[in-house]
């Protein structure tokens, strides 16, 4: 596990910065809830009458006056976008940086098989994503307790599980991209995360584009659907898992035989 440890050390600063930034925004959102709760009747009416914008963020199906309704929209966006950007960035860099930073010659001339290098790097990405999600989950629970609200465990677990799955799926796709790219991988990763996010907004606005929910992992993270159904959409998760698996398999097939320049 030498490479896992090495990658975790190398990614420590980025991990701490992203976790602190997302955690801070999550906590701020939660701490805003008691103040907004009193004014929620007006706010809910306002949010439910913004046409396509309301549907885009799923606010037509959620009661914004409840903690979980507020949490799934406000914190969901922070966790969804922030987590997706971190996961994409972390994964899309992990293989490509070796060539971009010219360290591949050092790493790949040691007696370590390429398959092991790919596996250890993938494990390092997963550890970072899971660790970040555990910290954010604990921070959310602590913040909800701090504002004196009861923790809606089932819904909270479901939301965090969905966002963690989203990040792992995006990371797996970006991991595949990372194996093919030398330069410009950061832009590709962040761009992919942003495109996936906006695909979900489009899918929410018009029924004709609803099929997009099966392409973007944000589709199965919709707070309104999760809370209403009490579970993740299995078909969407299966499609996402398949896309992630293709990313990982592509990474192994490409990087195991790639010419390193």
């Amino acid at each position: 596990m030498t490479i896992v440890t090495h990658e975790l050390r190398q990614g420590k600063a980025a991990f701490l910065i992203w976790t602190a930034a997302i955690g801070f925004l999550l906590a701020v959102c939660i701490f805003l809830f008691p103040e907004m709760k009193g004014e929620m009747e007006g706010v809910s009416d306002m949010f439910s009458s913004m046409g396509s914008f309301t549907a885009a963020f799923g606010m037509d199906k959620l009661n914004f006056g409840t903690l979980i309704g507020f949490y799934s929209v406000e914190c969901g966006n922070v966790l969804g976008l922030g987590g997706a950007f971190f996961a994409a960035l972390c994964a899309v860099n992990i293989l490509s940086k070796e060539e971009r930073c010219q360290t591949a010659e050092f790493l790949l001339t040691h007696p370590v098989s390429r398959v092991r290098i790919i596996t250890e790097k993938l494990i390092a990405v997963l550890i970072q994503i899971i660790a970040m999600n555990l910290i954010l989950y604990a921070l959310s629970a602590a913040s909800i307790t701090a504002i004196g609200e009861d923790i809606p465990w089932k819904e909270l677990n479901l939301l965090h599980l969905a966002y963690c799955t989203l990040q792992i799926e995006l990371a797996a796709i970006c991991f595949g991209i990372s194996a093919f790219m030398r330069k410009g991988s950061v832009g590709a990763g962040l761009g992919l995360a942003a495109v996936m996010y906006f695909l979900n907004l489009i899918a929410n606005i018009t029924e004709a584009a609803e099929f997009l929910k099966y392409i973007t992992p944000f589709g199965y993270c919709e707070g309104s659907d999760l809370i209403t159904n009490g579970s993740l959409d299995k078909t969407m998760v299966a499609v996402g898992t398949a896309m992630g698996a293709i990313g990982v398999i592509a990474a192994y097939l490409k990087y195991a035989k790639k010419d390193i320049h």
Binding site: T2, I3, H6, Q10, C101, Q102, T103, A104, E105, F106, L107, L108, T109, H110, P111, V112, S113, K257, D259, I260, H261
Partner: protein, 293 residues
């Protein structure tokens, strides 16, 4: 046993030639020189041998093991020094050395410390703060600390001051005496001439000559330097001719009797005829018609 053996090893980058049907044989325990200018295929050969790139065709074995199928086993016995030493930012020298040792699953901290002392390398410094030469020293220690059976060195002395270069070659000679094979790729021909027993010259991706360094130098060509005036027109076999302030110098590989007759007919105040150095031999091989010494 042969430490390195390549048979018709070919690498094309798309349509560009890297190496073309390269045949090379380096015996175990040799101090072998690999000479060629930029773009001749030296680095492509090394990158293919170390598994960084896959050959387009042909084969190569290191200690009898195929580079395509037994890469990991082969790399256990190789210490590789790249021409440009680049490491992970933010890491200290000692951490880089430890990482390298851990990836080899060995503990060689004692040897690493000894090498750092001999090369005057401060292992507590961060690699980002090091000069090009000091980063090269880190790469040297990484390559040597595991006492590998084969050392592949690509332009190893770039950035090193003369004293460290001398110490570095002393370390290499010690390793060689202990049985290590050394494959030294360089365009500093004096390094090859001083240290290597055998050398190969690569041109446009092909080995054009491979022989003992002494034999390579023992060509029938001679460096002629004369002061005075002489008519050299009509004398075949003159190359690399330079005229200076009262002197003329040229490399001569023609009939020696004709040369002496021509010189005798002129007015010469001083004359020297010597064996050319390896640099001149190298240039000779790089001339279009210089396929034969």
């Amino acid at each position: 046993m042969e430490a390195i053996k390549t048979s018709s090893l070919t690498k094309y980058y798309g349509t560009s030639r890297g190496i073309d049907a390269l045949n090379l044989s380096v015996r175990e325990g040799e101090f072998f020189g690999f000479i060629g200018p930029n773009g001749a295929g030296k680095s492509t050969t090394i990158r293919t041998l170390t598994g960084l790139i896959s050959p387009t065709s042909g084969s190569a074995q290191i200690f009898g093991k195929d580079i395509r199928t037994e890469r990991e086993t082969i790399l256990k016995n190789i210490g590789y020094l790249p021409s440009e030493a680049v490491f992970y930012p933010g890491m200290k020298v000692k951490d880089i050395l430890k990482l390298s040792a851990h990836m080899r699953k060995i503990n060689c901290s004692k040897r690493a410390k000894e090498l750092c002392e001999r090369l005057q390398l401060d292992s507590s410094r961060k690699v980002d703060q090091l000069s090009f030469g000091n980063r090269k020293k880190v790469a040297i220690v990484c390559a040597l600390q595991s006492n590998p059976k084969l050392l592949i060195l690509d332009e190893p002395t770039g950035g090193l001051d003369p004293l460290i270069q001398r110490e570095f070659f002393e370390i290499l000679r010690e390793q060689n005496r202990k049985g290590a094979t050394i494959f030294l790729s360089s365009h500093v021909l004096s390094e090859i001439q001083r240290n290597c027993s055998r050398a190969a010259i690569i041109r446009e991706g092909r080995i054009i000559v491979c022989d003992q360094v002494d034999a390579l130098s023992k060509t029938n060509a001679r460096r002629v330097t004369l002061h005075g005036s002489v008519a050299l027109q009509g004398l075949d076999g003159i190359r690399d001719k330079t005229d200076g302030n009262g002197f003329t110098s040229f490399l001569y590989s023609g009939d020696m009797n004709l040369l002496l007759q021509t010189l005798a007919a002129g007015h010469i105040t001083d004359l020297s005829i010597s064996e050319p150095d390896l640099e001149e031999i190298f240039l000779h091989y790089y001339e279009k018609d210089g396929d034969k010494a």
